[in-house]
């Protein structure tokens, strides 16, 4: 093992699920871009809340409510530090990254997007960063524009620059890392160009925050969204980061209890930031669990996690390139992409391939990856995708390569 690298052997012991068998074979989990597995510390944190201090937060004065409020708000601080936001006021808990984008498309979009305005996204986007904008454009009679991606998986930056020059462009919403091709998008450059024209930028960081250091002050994005469950945390927790100056002008999207300061018969005074945007009892247990996930990632170090994924991705791509009939999609240099490899093997349909790999205990994703716009671009209906995380090993990659060869043999290619 390389000096300073992750101790994967030790990490694996923290994940009980990794000792289970699939079809009598040890589980090889390569579907981390969909969701990651959970370490014992996250499972324990959730269990501890329900067993020892389950109460509603923010209101009651009894001790358990105070403990629960403290634990819930502690996660907000951890999130703020993790992405280096100015303050916890800018961190809003949502159900997932999709809901976070929807809050922006409604709360910000309906006030700021008007007829003939343009919203710009890219061909790399996940459906969650396409559909809310289509709906907003239909409602406001604005138009949606795409920055194209070339066949190597990179954005057309000339076109990007041109689109940003258009005075009708009012928002850019863009993934930092493609969930299909793994492409790392130069968001700093795009944000810099956009801000030169006073255009705000939303960054969909669902595939970046879990895998590499992210700093909202350095990138200077205006909105950022991501999901806890893709970074060791539980499902049902997402994060919406909004720069304070924008947040202060934002009207609440979901209203009701907890987001208020005073409610009278015909008027309401809203609560302070960020509570104004968190109506109703939130997902307390899972937010607390997410805190434990961030602690876990911090102990490992995001730089080391990134290095581990680059190494593993390179190792896997090198071996895959040698398989005859293999097509790899997206950047071919592991340094330019997240730990995501999308591919097709001969004319084997991805679902058939995923079924065969499942018999080897290997979990990969197959299908359109909620990115049909991108699939159309490549004139495909489906791809297979292997995606890695902290607990994956080169030995698992070796077994994966063997399984691919087995599929070739079975299909006679």
């Amino acid at each position: 093992m390389q000096k300073g690298a992750l101790n994967v052997h030790r990490i694996r012991k923290d994940f009980p699920i990794l000792s289970r068998k699939i079809k009598d074979k040890p589980l090889i989990y390569f579907d981390n871009a969909a969701t990651t597995q959970k370490p014992m510390s996250v499972i324990d944190a959730i269990r501890d809340y329900y067993m020892n201090y389950n109460s509603n937060i923010h209101r009651a004065v009894h001790q358990m409510a105070e403990e629960a409020t403290h634990a819930y708000e502690a996660t907000r601080q951890k999130v703020a530090r993790f992405i280096n936001s100015h303050s916890t006021d800018e961190i809003i808990f949502t159900r997932n990254a999709t809901e976070a984008i929807n809050i922006v498309s409604h709360a910000w979009g309906e006030d700021n997007i008007h007829k003939d305005d343009r919203i710009v996204i890219t061909e790399l986007e996940h459906h969650s960063n396409i559909v809310p904008w289509q709906i907003l454009c239909n409602q406001t009679r604005a138009s949606l524009d795409y920055i194209e991606v070339d066949h190597g998986g990179y954005l057309n930056m000339d076109r990007c620059e041109k689109i940003l020059q258009n005075k009708n462009t009012k928002l850019i919403s863009i993934s930092e890392v493609s969930n299909v091709l793994g492409t790392i998008v130069p968001i700093r450059k795009i944000i810099e160009m956009a801000h030169g024209q006073d255009i705000p930028v939303l960054v969909d960081a669902a595939q970046s925050v879990p895998h590499m250091p992210v700093d909202v002050q350095t990138t200077d994005c205006d909105f950022m969204v991501f999901s806890a469950h893709k970074m060791l945390g539980p499902t049902g927790v997402g994060i919406l980061y909004v720069k304070r100056e924008i947040l202060e002008k934002l009207q609440p999207f979901i209203s009701g209890g907890d987001m208020i300061k005073e409610v009278h018969k015909y008027e309401t005074v809203y609560n302070d930031l960020p509570y104004k945007f968190e109506a109703g009892t939130p997902n307390i247990a899972d937010v607390i669990g997410f805190g434990a996930a961030i602690d876990y990632l911090n102990r490992l170090g995001m730089d080391k996690i990134r290095d581990h994924e680059i190494e593993l991705t390179k190792y896997a791509m090198d071996a895959m390139k040698d398989i005859r009939g293999m097509t790899l999609y997206g950047p071919l240099d592991a340094k330019n992409k997240g730990g995501v490899i999308s591919f097709n093997l001969g004319d084997i349909h991805p679902h058939d391939l995923a079924t065969i790999l499942n018999d080897h205990g290997i979990a990969i994703r197959s299908g359109h990856h909620c990115a049909q716009v991108l699939m159309e671009k490549f004139d495909l209906s489906a791809m297979s995708r292997a995606s890695f995380y902290i607990y994956n090993t080169p030995e698992e990659v070796d077994k994966f390569i063997n399984a691919l060869n087995d599929a070739k043999r079975l299909f006679g290619i």
Binding site: K23, I348, H349, P350, H351, D352, T355, I356, D359, S366, G367, H368, Q372, M375, S381, A382, D406, A407, L410, F411, G412
Partner: protein
Amino acid sequence: MSEDIYREIILDHYRNPRNKGSLPNADISIHDSNPLCGDEIDIHLKVEEDMIKDIKFEGRGCAISQASASMLTEQVLNKPLNTVKDIAKEDILENIGLMNLGPARIKCALLSLKVLKLGMVKYYADRDPGSAKKIQDESKLY
């Protein structure tokens, strides 16, 4: 195991699909897709005196979806159209020899049957709206 699923008969129909192509004078053409995995099937029917005189399918997708479509066309060619309503999912699974497909893959296997039944209902609806309702009710659309 993979060997059980991807038996020769499935790979044979996948590689050499029967009745695949377009049917210019079709009486009915129906398309559907499986949103989960993107399998697509079009079925075209030529019907004479309630007999399926010709049938063609077009599509793309996994081996299971395409092979089961191929086998289904063989099964119903030159059969009365209204018997399509009686084909059950078990018949399809038996055809392709996969009685124990999981919930995700079973949709692949049954897509072509769904399309064929939709086509049958549409055919009757265009000609006799009254009877179409009855056929639709009787039709075992899993």
